[in-house]
C-alpha cells in the first residue's frame, strides 16, 4: 500500500507538470488576472487544463503528506541520509511552489496572499534579506512567476529525482484518474476580481492556520516559527534515532493544534 501511494504521488506530479506546461502557454505575468480569466472562459478546453493543473497539484500535496505520515509510522528508516535530506528539500519546495501558484492566479485572494507573504518577510528579522527575491515594485507577480515556473520546479525535480530515482511510473492512468475524479467531485475556488469590495479573502488551505494566528494578533516571527517547526523536527528525526518517539508525538500534537487553528 505505501509503495502504491508513493508511485501514485509521482504520477500526480507528472500530471501536474504536464498540465502546467499547457497553462503556461496562455499565462502572462503582465496581465496575470486577465490571462487567467482568458484561459478559464475563452481558450478552448482552457478551464479543463486549469482545473487539471489545480487538482493534480492539490492531490500531489495531499498524497505527499500521506506518504510522509506512512513513512513516519515505520519503525526503521530505509532510505539514506542524502535521500532523506533531499526529500525534505522537495517537501519545502512543494509547499513553496503551491503557494506561488496560488499568488499567480492574481485574483484578490492571490494578491493578498502575496502581500501577506512579503509582509511576513519584512517583519521577520533576518528574513527580510530574502525580500528582493520575491518583491517586484513594477510587476507584483513577476518574481512569484519566476519561482513557480523556473526555479522551484528545477529544485523540486532535482530533489525528487534523488529521492525517488525515477519519474517513470506505471500508474500514470491512476494519477490522471485521481485528478479527474477530484475535478468531478470538488469545485475549484472561484476567482475574486482584484477590485471587488466587501469580501473576506483567505490564503491557501495549508496556510489557514498561520493566517488565523495572524488574525489573532500573534507576532509574525512566532507564526514563522510555527510554520517551520515541523521541518526542524523532520531534520532531527533522521539524525536523532532516540528522539523518534518523542518527535512523532510532538508532530501529532502540532498537526492537531494547527488543524484546530485552521478551522477556527
Amino acid at each position: 500500500m505505501p509503495y502504491m501511494i508513493s508511485w501514485i504521488t509521482v504520477a500526480l506530479f507528472n500530471v501536474s507538470i504536464f498540465s502546467g506546461l499547457v497553462v503556461a502557454f496562455v499565462y502572462k505575468p503582465s496581465l496575470a488576472y486577465e490571462s487567467v480569466q482568458k484561459l478559464t472562459f475563452l481558450v478552448p478546453y482552457g478551464d479543463i487544463f486549469r482545473e487539471l493543473h489545480y487538482f493534480s497539484s492539490e492531490a500531489f500535496l495531499v498524497m505527499t503528506l500521506v506518504h510522509v505520515v506512512l513513512e513516519l509510522r515505520k519503525k526503521e528508516i530505509v532510505i539514506s541520509a542524502t535521500s532523506w535530506n533531499y526529500s525534505l528539500l522537495a517537501l519545502g519546495a512543494l509547499f513553496f511552489v503551491m503557494f506561488t501558484g496560488y499568488v499567480l492566479k492574481a485574483d484578490l485572494s492571490g494578491l493578498s496572499a502575496g502581500e501577506v507573504a512579503l509582509s511576513l518577510l519584512k517583519q521577520t528579522p533576518g528574513m527580510n534579506f530574502f525580500l528582493p527575491l520575491f518583491e517586484d515594485t513594477s510587476l507584483f507577480v513577476w518574481k512569484f512567476y519566476l519561482w513557480h515556473i523556473l526555479f522551484l520546479p528545477i529544485i523540486l525535480v532535482y530533489a525528487l529525482l534523488l529521492h525517488v530515482k525515477t519519474f517513470r511510473t506505471k500508474m500514470w492512468s491512476i494519477g490522471l484518474g485521481v485528478s479527474v475524479l477530484c475535478m468531478v467531485f470538488f469545485t475549484m475556488p472561484r476567482d475574486i476580481a482584484p477590485d471587488m469590495m466587501g469580501v473576506h479573502v483567505t490564503g491557501p488551505w495549508f496556510f489557514k492556520g498561520a493566517e488565523n494566528l495572524l488574525m489573532f494578533g500573534i507576532h509574525p516571527v512566532v507564526v514563522d516559527v510555527v510554520m517551520f517547526f515541523p521541518f526542524a523536527l523532520l531534520v532531527c528525526y533522521f539524525y536523532k534515532p532516540f528522539w523518534r518517539t518523542g518527535i512523532r508525538i510532538v508532530l501529532i500534537l502540532w498537526s492537531v493544534a494547527y488543524a484546530i487553528f485552521s478551522f477556527i
Partner: protein, 133 residues
C-alpha cells in the same frame, strides 16, 4: 566508424550530472536582482481633482480622502500584514479583507490585529490637480 557505447540509461545518468549546476544557476537571477534592488521607488502620480468624484476613492494602492478643504492620501496597505484595504461606505471605514482590521476615514485604527494607523502619503494640489508622492 567507431561504435559509440551509449544507451538511454547512460544518457539519462550523464544528463542528471548537470542538474546540480542548473540548480545553482537558478540562484543567480535572484542574486543579481538582489544586488540591483532598490527598495524605495519614488513615483509621482497626478490626478485631476474633477476625476475624484466621491469623497473616498481607491486608486491602485492608494486611498484618497476628500475632506471639505483638504485632500488626504493614505497607503491602501493594511498596517498589519499589507493587504489592500476595502472601502466600507456603509460604516464609513476602511476594512482589511484578510484579517478584518478596520480604520476610520481619518486613517485611525479602530479594531483588528493592526497596531498602527494608516500610513499617510505626501500629496499636494496645484492647478486643480492632485499630485501624490
Amino acid at each position: 566508424m567507431r561504435d559509440v557505447d551509449t544507451n538511454r540509461r547512460f544518457f539519462v545518468k550523464n544528463s542528471i550530472k548537470f542538474l546540480p549546476y542548473l540548480a545553482v544557476g537558478t540562484f543567480i537571477y535572484p542574486l543579481v536582482s538582489y544586488v540591483r534592488y532598490e527598495e524605495i521607488q519614488k513615483v509621482s502620480i497626478a490626478i485631476p481633482l474633477l476625476e475624484i468624484k466621491s469623497n473616498i476613492t481607491k486608486i491602485g494602492k492608494v486611498l484618497v480622502y476628500k475632506k471639505e478643504k483638504e485632500v488626504v492620501v493614505y497607503s491602501a496597505h493594511c498596517t498589519h500584514m499589507g493587504c489592500i484595504l476595502n472601502i466600507d461606505a456603509s460604516k464609513e471605514r476602511f476594512v482589511c479583507p484578510c484579517h478584518s482590521s478596520e480604520f476610520s476615514y481619518d486613517g485611525v485604527r479602530l479594531k483588528g490585529p493592526a497596531k498602527r494607523n494608516l500610513d499617510i502619503i505626501s500629496s499636494h494640489i496645484k492647478d486643480k490637480i492632485l499630485y501624490i508622492g
